[in-house]
Every structure is written in C-alpha cells, then in structure tokens.
C-alpha cells in the first residue's frame, strides 16, 4: 500500500474482464461481459436478483472458473496461471460476505488474526494489536473477544469487513454490503467504504441493488441483465442513469418510474 497510490493515475486498469461467459454446466448465466475496473474505483455490479451478480463475484474471487473468456489482474490472466500464482493473487484480495461469513468457533480477534498468522511472520502480540486496530477501524473497538454469535447482524457485517481488510488488500469485494441493514447503518457502511478507498487507496468492487448506495459511492459500474443474459450498460452509475436508452436499465435505476432523478443519497 503506497501513499502515492491515492494520487496515482485513476484510470490505471486493475482488473479487466474480457469476453467472459459464466455458466453452471450447460446453463449460461451471463455471456460476453467486457469491462475494466480501474485502480481506486468503487465499482458497482448491479442488476436484479438472480442476474448473476454473485456468480460474477465468485469468478472474480477465484471460486469459479469461467466457461470462456479471461479475467486479468493487472497483466496476469487469472485462470491461465498455475494455482500457486492464483493463491498469491488471492492474497491481495479481501472479500466481505453478505452475512460476514465469520468463522463461528473463533472470536472476532482470532477471525482477523488467522490470515495474518498464515501469511506473515509477525509475533502473536503484534498480530493481536493489528486485529484490534482493524476492529477499531470498523467501529468495533473492544469487541475483540466476542464470538460472532454474540453480536448483532450489522456488527457481524462490520467484523466481516475488518477480516477482509486483515492483509491490507489491494482489492476489496463486497457482497451486498447493505442487505439487511437499516438506512442509517447502511449509510455508515457506505461512508466507511469511501474512507477505506480514500485512505488505503484500495480498489473496491461492490455487489448491490441498493439504489442509494449505487449513486452515492459508485464511481464506475456494470449492469447485468437476467433476460438478455449479458451486460446492458457500463460506466459511472450517474452517467448510466442520465444517458441510458435501455428501458430495463432505466426501470432498475428509477424503480420503474422512469423519472431520471437521483434518489436521496
């Protein structure tokens, strides 16, 4: 993580998706996806439920192999390199899952410490201090010794984010960060995502269909459609709202009203 990363050229490609087709066996989810995620972007993957947003996340995080097409991290073709290289790339990514996906038999501190223990040679005391730092960054100072079952859903989500940040990743993925959160907590989480991007300079990929989030934090994005099984729009969400000619995109971004005005963000 470099201090100069913030002022680096914003349009430096970080992840490129080229002609990607995603399928479960013969069942195609999405085809011909082409888009670029730039360094420092907050990239929004939007679309109605069931359009393949989560499947795309699985492809980007190395859990599923593309049926065809390529995913490039920098210049490296993610699926063309040997497995150990893939693991190295994954080490630089953090994923924050919908319900936190915290390991239930470990305390919050241990959840965050595990990747640090596996990948670094830091002393146990140092790791513990780092874990507490991560927890305080997400507003959970003092909750080190709690088990995931002892805290609320919103807090679990934050703890999941703290764990995703354990190794100071270059890319952070969020699966439905605001699902199940009240508007205020959801706004706070959005602010936190912005803070992380601004101070750590991380590239952030967010999967969501929460309009308020899409317009307030997104700097780039892609719209996946479940009927045509491909992307219908790409770019800054506000630009998409302003310029898209596609009725399905407009319906999604205006909740079917067709009025091209920003929701309260």
């Amino acid at each position: 993580m470099c201090p100069d990363r913030n002022i680096a050229d914003k349009r430096q490609p970080h992840i490129r998706v080229v002609d990607l087709t995603m399928a479960y066996g013969d069942f195609v989810i999405q085809r011909n996806l082409n888009f670029t995620i730039y360094r420092g972007d907050i990239f929004i993957v939007m679309g109605v439920s069931g359009c393949g947003k989560s499947t795309l996340l699985k492809h980007l995080t190395g859990l599923m192999r593309p049926a065809s097409g390529r995913i490039l991290f920098g210049d490296v073709d993610f699926w063309a390199v040997p497995e150990y290289r893939r693991w190295e790339l994954m080490e630089r990514c953090g994923v924050s899952y919908q319900d936190g996906a915290l390991w239930s038999s470990m305390t919050l501190s241990e959840n965050i410490s595990l990747p640090l223990e596996q990948y670094t040679s830091l002393s146990p005391g140092h790791i513990r201090r780092l874990a507490s730092l991560k927890l305080s960054l997400v507003g959970l100072k003092g909750f080190d010794d709690f088990f995931p079952a002892q805290i609320s859903g919103g807090m679990r989500k934050r703890a999941g984010l703290a764990r995703a940040m354990a190794l100071d990743p270059e890319v952070l993925f969020f699966d439905e960060p605001s699902a199940g959160l009240d508007p205020v907590s959801s706004k706070r989480l959005d602010d936190l995502i912005l803070e992380i991007r601004d101070s750590l300079g991380a590239t952030i990929v967010v999967i969501t269909h929460e309009l308020a989030s899409i317009f307030s934090i997104g700097s780039n994005g892609v719209f996946l459609d479940n009927k045509t099984k491909t992307m219908l729009a790409a770019g800054h969400p506000r630009d998409i709202l302003r310029t898209s000619k596609n009725q399905r995109v407009i319906d999604f971004l205006t909740r079917g009203t067709g009025k091209r005005e920003l929701p309260c963000v």
């Binding site: 993580m1 640090l116 959970l140 003092g142 909750f143 079952a149 934050r158 706070r188």
Partner: protein, 382 residues
Amino acid sequence: MAENLNDAGTFFIKTDEKGRIQISFSGNWTIKAAVIEENKILKELGHRLVPGAKVMVNASSLQAWDSIFISALIAVKDFLENKNVAPDFTDLPEGVLHMLQLASSSPEAGEVPATGMEKRFLERVGKTFQSYLQSVRDFHRFLGEVVLGLAGLFTGHTRIRAKDFFLYLQNAGAEALPIVSMVSFLVGLILAFVATVQLKLFGAQIYVADLVGIAMARDMGAMMCGIIMAGRTGATYAAQLGTMQVNEEIDAFKTFGINPVNFLVVPRILALGFMMPFLCIYADLLGIAGGAVVGAGFSDITLQQYINETQVAVSLSQFFIGIVKCFIYGLIVALVGCQKGLSSGRSAAAVGRVTTSAVVTSIVWIIITCAVITIICYILDI
C-alpha cells in the same frame, strides 16, 4: 510506487537543538516487508523522553505503508499519552492521519458489554451445575412434549407428512442395511472365534453355536444396531435439526403455529422405533451366519449340526428380549438426537457440539439400558 517494496522499514529517533524529540520513519512499513516490533520504538523513545518534551513524528522518507504503520503510530501515541505528552503528527501523509482518526473514533456499537468469560472459578462451577440441571429439566419437558405429540396422532392434533415419514423410514431402514450387515456379521464371527478357541480345550466346539446364537439374539445384535444407529441416524437427526435451528427454520415453524416437536420429532421417532426391531432381527441372523462360518468352517462340526444346535439353543423368547431392547435403543437414539438438535445454538460450532453430544449420550444410555434390562431379566429368570 516505491522502488523496492521489500526493503524493511526503519525508524530513527533524535533530540534536536530545541530539545524536541524527532521520530523519523522511512522505508517500507508494510506487512510484506520485514517488520520492526513496536516495543523497540517504545523502548528507545522511553530512554530519550524527558518530562515536558515535545515529540514530533515525521515520515518524509517513508515509501510504502499499511496498517502495520498505523499500528506502530497508535502504540507510540498510547505510550506518550500515558506519560502526558501529546505527539505532533501533523507531518504525516493525509491517508495516515485519516486512518488514525478512524481508529480512534468512538466505537459505533456503543458500550462494550461483558463477554461473560471473566467469571470466578466458583461462579463458573455453579453456573455449569445449574446449566446441567437445566438440561435435565429440558429433557423431561421435551419427553413430555413428545408423549403429547404421539398421543396427538390419535386425536388428530399431530399431522405428519407421509412423504417425510417414508423418507425417514428409508433412511433409518434400507440405507442402514449395508453397515449393519457388515458389523453384525463380523461381530458374530469374532464371538465364534473366541468361543472356538476356549471350547476346543474341552472338546465342546458344538456349543459355539449356543454361545453365538444366544449372545447375538439377546444382546449383541440389538446393541450393535443401537450403536450404529446412534452414530448414523442419531447424528443425522441432531445435525439436521441443529442446522434448522441455525437457519431459523424452527422459528418459522413456531410462528406458523406448527409445533416443531410434533412435526419434526414425532415422525423421526416413529420411523426409527418402527425400523429398529427389523434391523435387530436382520443383525441377529447375520451374526449367527458369521458364527456359522467360523463354527462350521474351523472345526469338525458340519453346517447342518451347527444350525440344529442353534435352533435348540436359541428360543424365541431370547429373540424377543433382543427385539424389545433394540426398540428401546431406537427410542433413545431418536429422542436424544432430536432433543440435542433442537437445543442447538446458532452457529456451525454449536451444531458440531450437539451432534457429538447426541452420539455420545445415546451410546452411554444404550449401555446403561442394556445393563438394567439384563439384570431385570436375570432376576425374573427370563
């Protein structure tokens, strides 16, 4: 980007002409680079610190940083604040200041409640004992609910879905056959070996048939079925219901006014209770067959003689004792498995705990029950 990201981070502390302490950080302060322990900084800082000193932190030659650097700064800050010195961080990069601010902002979750871990020894003993008593009470309540649920079958209060019931039957019956076959056949074989070696000394190998037949019919067939089903079906029941508890499926039943005991537990108990006697008869026969292989194969006795001897020795009442025992074991396995499952906590670890506990508890109760029934049979001379 910095030239070499693996250069270790360094720090340098000096006191300048105005008496200010300057801490300079340089190089890479990242997880990937070699890391300096925070204690080292604090130790050196401690040496130089004089009351009322001003401390400046600068990072002008810092190359790359991540949370390791933030963590070090926080350690410095906490150390100095303990000594009533406010460090001057103004020369740090903006991103660093941002992170520091974020880390020191008050926790959003509000006050941190106690985790419940820091209790004293006696208090823990007391709480453990109370929770044990509570679990005994819970089991009795559960037993009562099951009896009411079974009675509800006749009054129409309990409705079970035929589809589920047949699935449970298949799971507790047909699908258990391979493992029951193997285990009981081998147990019969082992008994026969032990008996053959001893009885050969008296030239009484023919009684191998008696021993194996009676042992399998009265006890071993039933007990092997009980133990296998505890590990197989009991564990399944506990894990299924425990996972349903985790997913709030049990709560969903309750809010529809469907009693989970009636809907989930009663059919499982019926299925296992119904299948166990059949499994027991099957296990008995295979055990006797296993005995015959050794009894007739490793001595002068013919298979016909062995079968005749078995028929004479093993009366029908001995089979019945085994069947009754096995039926009771089935009830124990199903009851314990379901009760543990329903009392599961809401995490993956909790499901694992109740599953283990279901198997162990069932096996212990099976053996205790076996001992009690054996003693009763002895007293009643059956």
